[in-house]
Symmetry: C3
Subunit: 222 residues, 3 copies
Amino acid sequence: MTSQIFAPGVQQVLDTVGIFVFALSGGLLAVRKNLDIFGIAVLAEVTALGGGVFRDLIIGAVPPAAFENRGYFFTPLVASLVVFFLHPEVQRINRTIQVLDAAGLGLFCVTGTAKAHDFGLGSVADIALGMATAVGGGVARDLLAHELPSLLRWDRALYAVPALVGSSVVAVLIALDRLDGVTGTLAALTAFVLRLLALRYDWRAPRAWHRGSGSSAADDPA
Amino acid sequence: MTSQIFAPGVQQVLDTVGIFVFALSGGLLAVRKNLDIFGIAVLAEVTALGGGVFRDLIIGAVPPAAFENRGYFFTPLVASLVVFFLHPEVQRINRTIQVLDAAGLGLFCVTGTAKAHDFGLGSVADIALGMATAVGGGVARDLLAHELPSLLRWDRALYAVPALVGSSVVAVLIALDRLDGVTGTLAALTAFVLRLLALRYDWRAPRAWHRGSGSSAADDPA
Amino acid sequence: MTSQIFAPGVQQVLDTVGIFVFALSGGLLAVRKNLDIFGIAVLAEVTALGGGVFRDLIIGAVPPAAFENRGYFFTPLVASLVVFFLHPEVQRINRTIQVLDAAGLGLFCVTGTAKAHDFGLGSVADIALGMATAVGGGVARDLLAHELPSLLRWDRALYAVPALVGSSVVAVLIALDRLDGVTGTLAALTAFVLRLLALRYDWRAPRAWHRGSGSSAADDPA
C-alpha cells in the first residue's frame, strides 16, 4: 500500500485540515450566491469530497472513502456552521484560506495519485486522477453554483498546473520505488509552493494563439 | 434484505408512481426551456432516475436498477408523451403534481436509505444516500437545463429537509431493528407531510447570518 | 465478445479518429469561451472520453477504458495542441469536422451498444448506453463550459436521433445474432448518413404541442 505515505494518524489530521479548508471555499461561494444553510452545507460537502469521490468511482473503490469515514463527512458540516455564523470574518482572512487551500491542493494531489496507483492504474491515469482528486471538488462546486468553473477560467492564477506537477513528481517517485513520507511531503510542498507563487505573481496559462491582428474578442461568436 | 420494506408488487406500483411524477416535473421544465421532445424525454429520465443511479454508483450496485428494470426506463417516456401533448393541462394541475411529488420524495428517501444499508454502509452514509436518492434527480435536471439547482435556492420552500428527516427516521428504525412495511410507511408519510407543510406555509431555511447592518446584497461581489 | 466487431487494429484506428474529432469540438468551444490552454485540454478530454466513461461506470467496467488506454488519453492532448496553435484554420474546415464528427457519432453508438451488451445488460439499456456513449461527451463539454447542452436545444439539427437509430439497429442485430464487422459497419453508416442528412436539411425534433393560439414564448415563465 504505497498510499500509506504518512502514518495513519498524521494522514487523518492532514486530510481533515484539507477537507475543512476546501469546505470553507464551498461555503463561502454559497454565501456569495445567497444560498441558504442547506446550500452552504451541500457546496461545502461537494467541494471537500467531490474530487475524491470521482477518483474512487473511477478506480472502483466503492463505497468511496467519503462515505466510509464519518470524520470526512462531518468536517464539512462544521465548516458550514463556521461560514454560516462567521462568514464576514472568514472572508477577511481570505489570504490565510488561500494558503491553506494551496496546502490542501498539494496534499490531495499526492495522496490521490498514490491511491490510484494502489488500485493498479498506469502512471498516466495515476497523474490524471491525482489532479482530479485535488481539483474535482472545486469544479463540482462551481457547476452546482451555476458558474463557469474557476479552474477553466483564463483570468485566474494557475491552479491545476501545480497539482499536475505534484502528481507527476509522485508518479516518478513511484516508478523509482522511492515514494515514502519524506519524498511524498516534498512532492506536496512542490505543488504548494508553486500554487503560492502563482497566486503571488498572478501566473496564468496562455490562451489560444492569435496570429495576425486577430484579438480573442474578435472570434468570440454567439 | 431490509430494502424489501414493501411487498414486491406494492413496491413496483409505488416506484412507478413516484418515477412518473418526478418525470413530469422534468418534462415540464423542458417545455418551459423551449426544448424539443428529445429534451423533454432526457429531462424526464434524468429527473426520475438520476437520484437512484447516483446512489447505486456510490454503493457499487452496478448496473443501477434504472438500467435493469424496463418499467423504470419506460415510465418517464410515457410521462414525456403526456407532457408533450398535454402540458397546458399538466401545468394546470400543478398543485396535484406538487402533492404527488411530495409523495415521491417520501417514498424515495425511505427506500434509498434502506438500500444503502443493505449494501453495508454506515448510518450516516445511509441517510446521505437516502436524501440523495430523493433529491438527486432534481439537481441533475436543473444542471442539464442550465439553471441554478432549485434545491439550493433560498427562495424555495424546504425540499431536502423533509427528505433528511425521512431518511433519519429510517436510519433510527434500522438501528432499532424495527424497519418494516408499517414503520417504513410512517417514515415516508413523515417526509411527505413535512414537505406539504413546507409548501403550505412557505417554510424556508435561513441564509447566512448577517450581523450589524449588512444585507445579503451588500456582500454579493462579482 | 461481440464488442470485437472490428479487428483490434482497425478498432484502434477508428477509435482514435473519433476521439480526435470529438476532442477538436471540445477544444474549439474552449477557444470560443476564451479559456486557456488548460481549459482547452480539459474540454477536449471530456468531450472525447466522457460518454465512454459514463457507460463504463454504469456497466461496472472500472477503471474505464479511457483510463486504461494511453492512446485514448493522449489523442485529445494532441487535438488540444492543434486547436491551440491552429484554431482559425480548424474553424475554417468546420464542414469537414462536422462530417468527421458524424462518423464518430456512428462509430461510438455502435461500439457502445455492443460493449453494454457484453456486460450483460438488456437490449433497452444497451440502446440507451450506446446513445450515451456517442452523445455524453458533448453534454459534459457543454456543462463544463457553462452552456445549455447543445444536444437538448431545439434550434440544432438532430444529433441524438441518428445515434438512437444506430444503437437500435445494433440491438436488433445482436438479438438476431447477426452482429459482425459488416453489419456493424452498416449500422454505423446508417447513423452517419442520418446525421449528415439532418445537417444538410436542418432536420429538427418537434417542440411540445401548442394548441389554440398559444405560442411557446407565451408559456415561458421565469
